[in-house]
Structures are given as C-alpha cells and as structure tokens.
C-alpha cells in the first residue's frame, strides 16, 4: 500500500502521521527544529524560508492553542498565513470538505494545516490533492479525531531528546485517556520509532483502547506501579465531557487514582521529566505542585513546538534541507 505522506522518492510530501515514518525523517525534523529554536531568541524572529508561500490553517475543530502555534511558526518562516475557522463558515453552509479544499487551492495555497474531528480527514485531503494533480500543495495534520497529532508527537520527542539526549535507554509512561487521545497515538509511534525500549500506558480500563500491546506498549492500570522508575511522564488532558458518565464516575475519583501528585512523581526516577500537551486541568490529571514544579517541562514543550512546526513546514515546502 502506498504511503500517502511520502513521495515516490521517499521524501516527506505531507505530514499525516508518525506511524510508518522512517526514523531518518523523524531525526531530520528534530535536527532541523534545533536550528530554529534560537531564532525565537533573536531580536528579529524571522527567517525568509517561506517568503511568498501561503499557509492555510484549516481548523474544522476549534483549537486556539494549536492554531496559534502554527500561525506563529508560519510567520517566523515569513509565510502568509490565512486562518479559517471552518466549523463556523463553509461547513455550516453545507459546503463539502473537498469543495472547500478546491476553492482554497484555486487561491494558490501552498500548504494546508488541517485540524478535523474525524480520524483520517487529512488523508482524504491529501488523496484528493493527488487525484487532482496538485502535488505541490502540502498537508500537515494538526490533529484528526483520535488518530494522530504528529507535530505534537514530534515536539514531545524534541523535548525528550533535549532533556534526555538518548532514547534507547528510556522508560516513558503516558497517563490518562489513551482511548480518545491522538497525542498518545502519535507519541507511541514516535517513541517506538526512535527506539525507546519501554513505553507504558497508564489508565483505567474504560480509557484504554484494545490492541495497545500490538503497538508495543506495556499497559498498567495502577498508576503507582506504572510510574516506578520511569524517565518521562506524559500526562494527557482529560476532556471535561469524559469526567462523568459511563467512562469515569467523577473528576475527583479520577484525580485520586490517576492524578499526578508530588508523592506519585517521587516513584519515578529522580530526574524524570513531566510533560503535558496542554491545556492542563489542574486538580484533575495533575497537581499544581507538579505542574509548576522543577521537573515539569510543559512550557518548554510549547516553545519547542514552534520550532518543530517551523521545521515540518520548511521541510515540506522544500525550502530547507
């Protein structure tokens, strides 16, 4: 089966998922990102790599945070950014997803950054671009349903590499709502691609999808056991609609069983880092003392996220590397 995110030379054509992405490409993105990190510290925070290119942020699902980071990354690459909050415009007028794409492609878009509530939606767009011979237009998946959030996965890898240097001796725990999390899936694929020997998933059975073992993950339902000796803890956001109902009885009980407190953090290695894709629910999945503590690297994640997205976009645009 043709992997739609690579072109026939094996180069990155679209970034749709980390699954199946060659390790060399992942490392190339991380290396490129590190050259961009310092740009943000400069007086003039811009490079001209995407000057004259148009990036369309197509957010079919609301997300101020992710959209903003893509917008900043595009602007630092000197691209023109157009933000479209589609859930509030075309879709509500009945225009189909692909009609929207055709219209924007006719405006000479160079790149689509797509967020959609349905798993696989960016694949549909990428396939449509291939079918309509518009291979110069690139697609970046900015989160599709429960499936993937590859730039988040990559920025998480960048963060881990920054603090831990080597992936091949790490134990990484991902905690929380794995079932509904595209971040967890992208992290799992990225970690296994980069050679992390032990990836753990921790959560109650109601939030753990079947088949995690086949993805190379060790499953824990007991948080204390799962955190023992880990180097990296990735906390997931618990969506408010999951906090009460048939999946979980209450946010309080969730915090009691799976909230990351200083006591629980002490079970991990002393130099373990704590990550979170944001936005955090303090007192639900993470205690403020941990979120603001010395081991938290949650704000650096945000900073690195800009550089990683710059790297992805510049590589796709072919203007770098």
């Amino acid at each position: 089966m043709l992997n739609p995110q690579l072109n026939k030379n094996g180069e990155l054509q679209h970034l749709l998922t980390i699954e199946g992405l060659p390790k060399a490409i992942v490392n190339h993105i991380l290396d490129t990102a590190s050259s961009f990190v310092s740009i943000s510290d400069r007086e003039v925070k811009k490079v001209p790599l995407m000057r004259g290119k148009s990036v369309f942020n197509l957010f079919f699902e609301n997300s101020t945070r992710t959209r903003t980071t893509f917008e900043i990354a595009s602007k630092r690459l000197s691209a023109d950014v157009i933000n479209l909050n589609i859930s509030a415009s075309s879709a509500s007028k009945g225009e189909s997803l692909l009609d929207t794409i055709d219209n924007l492609a006719a405006m000479h878009a160079d790149m689509f950054v797509v967020r959609h509530a349905q798993s696989g939606a960016p694949y549909l767009i990428a396939k449509h671009l291939i079918d309509t011979r518009q291979s110069h237009v690139h697609v970046v998946n900015a989160g599709d349903g429960r499936h993937a959030h590859p730039t988040q996965g990559l920025l998480d890898m960048y963060t881990i590499r920054h603090y831990k240097k080597d992936f091949t001796n790490l134990t990484v725990a991902i905690v929380g709502d794995i079932l509904h999390s595209r971040v967890a899936r992208s992290d799992i694929h990225a970690l296994t691609t980069l050679g992390v020997p032990e990836v753990r998933a921790i959560g109650p059975h109601t939030l753990l999808p079947g088949g995690l073992e086949q993805m190379g993950v060790r499953v824990f339902t007991n948080m204390d056991e799962g955190l023992k000796g880990v180097d990296v803890i990735i906390m997931l956001r618990l969506q408010s609609e999951r906090m009460s109902g048939a999946l979980l009885p209450s946010a309080q009980e969730y915090f009691k069983s799976y909230g990351l407190t200083p006591e629980r953090l002490a079970l991990a290695k002393p130099d373990a880092i704590v990550m979170h894709p944001g936005p955090m629910n303090r007192g639900v999945e993470i205690d403020s003392a941990v979120a603001d503590g010395a081991q938290a690297v949650i704000l650096p994640q945000v900073t690195f996220g800009i550089a990683v997205r710059m790297a992805v976009m510049s590589i796709l645009a072919g203007t770098h590397g």
């Binding site: 739609p4 349905q118 696989g120 549909l124 349903g145 429960r146 088949g211």
Partner: protein, 442 residues
C-alpha cells in the same frame, strides 16, 4: 415461446446436476433438461458452449433505494444491475423513505418492479412502525401486499420486550423475522471492527460482542416463541459459533453473510478508504476464515450481495462521516465464485466430500438463498420458473466503477480482477439481458 439452451454446462445445485445438458423452456417454465420434450420446436436457440447454465441468482439483500433515496439509485438502474449480475430474484430491506411499514408502499414498489419486468422483487416489511422498535406493523396486511418477511434493517430493537412481542406475533402467522444481530448500545456510533487496527487508526470500534450479545438475546427469544428467524450478515467467528450451536440445538434459524465479508478484513481500510466503510464492519482475519469455513460446512446458509448504492458525495468524506455500504449486485456471482476458487476448491482437493466448488458456491446464491427466503426460485427442475443465468466461468474482468450499471459505484473491489462473467440473464423464459461485448461465445 420455446427456448432451447444448447451445449451448456448445466449446474443446478438443488437437483445435484452438474453436467453438459441442454435445457428446454416452454412458456416461461423449464420443460426438460437433457432430451427435448416430444414435439419441441425452438423459437429461439442459445448456444451456451463454454458457459455455465445455472438458476438465476437469489440475492437476500439488495437495497433498491426506492422510495425515497432516488438520488442514490433508482429501480431502473438497480434492476439493470441485477440483470447484469445474473440476479433474477432479490429481497429488499424495508429501510426506504418512507419505511416499508404500510401495505400501500409495498404494493407500489411491487407494481413498479413488475412493470420493469426484470428481477422478481421480494420486499421485507418493517417489523415495527418506522423501524422505531415500538409498535408492530400490520404484518398480515403487509404479507398480503407481497412482503416475504419482516425486518428492522439497520435499526436494532432497543426494547427487548417489543422484540419478544414481535416474534410472538410473527410466530402466530408463521412469518419469518430477519434480524441483523447488533446490540442497540454496544458499538453504537462505531465505524470499524474493534481491534488493533481501529485502535491504531483512532476509529470508534464495533466490538464482536455487539453481535454475540444480540445473538444470545435472539436465540433466547426464539427458544421462548418458536419464531423462525433469519440472521442477516453475521460477521464474526464468535457469532458463527453461536449460530452453529443454535442450529445444533434445533432452533429454527438460518443465516447469511455479505459477499464482501468473505474476502475483506479491517486491514482493507488501509489509509481510511471510505469504500471499505460497510455495516457490519469488515472484521479480522480469523473472522473472515470462520466465514469461509462456515459457508463450506453449511452453518452459513447463503451469501447475499448486501447491495447498498451510495451517492458519490456521501463517500467523498472522512471515513467516519462517509455513508456505509458497497455496491454488490454485479459482484455477487464473482465474489461467490472467488470463494469457491480460494476456499472450497482447497477443501475439495483435500478430500472434502460432496459437490464440487462451483456447485457449492452457486448453491449459496441460488437454492439455499431461496430456501431461506421461502421462495420457489433457485432451481431448474422441470416445472420450475425459467429464471436462468448463463455465465462464462473462465472470463476475467476488472471492476470498473463507471462500467457498473448500478448507480452505486463504490466497492473496495474497484480495480480488482474478477472471474466469472454473466453473458445472458433469462427471467421467466425471456432473455432480459444479453451481454453486448466481451467474450460471448456461440
């Protein structure tokens, strides 16, 4: 009108015939096979050398989309598809708009179908009004109008007490109730087989237990009521095992599988291919093997096309938003033959007893399907209606969406090479379809 079909290989599984034998048809009825009846002078002769002459196919589930969904398909387009697929009798589920819950609607559909003079259309009436699972329909009236059974299509009855009453009432008149086993809650909103692939792709899953829980409930209700139930599109190995046990126990149940499910698994979703979005979802490799084996050993009575024409715009959507369903009328024969090639032939070579693979495959889409539906069709003994298909068992063709007669162009088999091509379809002794191009011989 006297028709002579000569030099063909007559395969009539019901009557254990697989031999070079001529067929003689008088006034829409099979008059004789082998020797011409006394005084027979053909008005027309068809040379079927190199072709298989078989009973016209009986399809246990084909959505014609009328009334209500004419933008997806019309009776004209789908009846033409049936003819090109060699399907001469078909059962259509009641999930039209409006739902087939009133005798007038059924009569209109039957009338429309009759006026086209192609395949025989046998509607299933709705088991409950509007398929809502609350009030029973007028089953006796609907039967009088032409319904051959009662179904809920894709809407499970949520209230088990209503299902109990429906089966009791159906049993009163010895009607058959057709149910697709699916729990009303577990798997609701699911779009793919719950398994490692769905987990990886982030697709909401339909667990196998959605099917098995429903089967347990149905069997318990059948035990209590004695009602005859036909189980539609059983999809899992565990489900098939339950059906096996129920049959062994002597419960009056039969079951079918969708033709696509004999060959496809969830892996065929690939990179979110909406052509592989079907209900029930394609399941795992082991489930597919159980379907193949179940067809061979007879637990599964029949193969249906589960023909579901879907508008192109409804497939050009993200996987989870795409309408489920695949076109099937024109693929049914080839998919059944493919099963015979892939599976039955292997079993046969390894010492399996009984009829050859071709005959076995045809039985699943002719006489066995007719038995399930309570139809006299699906066989060619003297006196039977002359509903016949002539096909070239060796002809190869490639599934080209635009070449399909059906208005539904979507199937995960697009681009696949198929074996077995319909050359002539005869309904009640009348040549209703003759292939214009391709490897027509004689």
């Amino acid at each position: 009108m006297k028709l002579h079909i000569k030099n063909g290989r007559l395969v009539d599984p019901k009557n254990n015939i697989d031999a070079l034998r001529d067929l003689f048809i008088v006034d829409g009825v099979v008059a004789a096979a082998g020797e011409a009846p006394a005084g027979f002078v053909a008005d027309r002769t068809i040379d079927a050398a190199g072709l298989v002459v078989a009973p016209g196919l009986v399809d246990l589930s084909a959505r014609l989309r009328e009334p209500g969904y004419e933008y997806k398909a019309t009776l004209e387009s789908e009846m033409q598809a049936a003819m090109q697929g060699g399907v001469t009798s078909l059962v259509c589920p009641p999930d039209t708009d409006p739902v087939l819950d009133e005798p007038g609607l059924v009569e209109m559909l039957k009338h429309r179908a009759r006026s086209l003079n192609q395949a025989h259309v046998h509607p299933l009436g709705a088991l409950t009004m509007g398929l809502k699972g609350r009030a029973l329909t007028e089953m006796a009236e609907l039967t009088e109008a032409g319904c051959i059974g009662f179904a809920q299509a894709e809407e499970p009855v949520e209230d088990t007490n209503v299902l109990l009453r429906a089966l009791q009432y159906a049993k009163t008149f010895e009607y058959t109730v057709w149910l697709r086993p699916q729990d009303a809650h577990i798997g609701r909103g699911g779009i793919a087989h719950a398994g490692p692939l769905a987990s990886r792709l982030g697709l909401a899953g339909v667990p196998v237990m959605s099917e098995t829980i429903a089967l347990h409930t149905i069997f318990e209700l059948v035990r209590a009521t004695g009602a005859r139930v036909h189980l539609c599109r059983v999809s899992s190995a565990a489900g098939i095992e339950l059906v096996r046990a129920a049959k062994k126990e002597g419960l009056p149940v039969t079951c079918d599988v969708g033709a696509h499910h004999i060959h496809m698994t969830d892996a065929d979703i690939g990179f979110f291919d909406s052509n592989a979005r079907v209900t029930p979802p394609f399941r795992g490799q082991r489930d597919r093997e159980a379907i193949r084996a179940g067809l061979y050993d007879g637990v599964i009575d029949a193969i249906c096309s589960d023909h579901t024409p879907v508008d192109a715009d409804e497939k050009l959507l993200p996987f989870g938003e795409a309408s489920p369903g695949a076109t099937g009328l024109e693929l049914l024969l080839s998919l059944a033959l493919k099963w015979a090639d892939d599976y039955a032939a292997g079993q046969y070579r390894s010492g399996g007893a009984g009829a050859g693979p071709l005959s076995r495959a045809l039985a699943k889409v002719t006489c066995d399907a007719a038995r399930v539906a309570g139809l006299a069709a699906g066989q060619l003994a003297p006196g039977a209606a002359a509903d016949i298909v002539l096909f070239d068992p060796a002809a190869r063709w490639t599934v080209d969406a635009q070449a399909l007669a059906s208005q539904g162009k979507h199937t995960p088999f697009v681009g696949y090479e198929m074996t077995g091509q319909v050359v002539v379809t005869i309904v009640a002794g009348r040549v209703a379809y003759q292939r214009k191009s391709g490897p027509v011989r004689g």
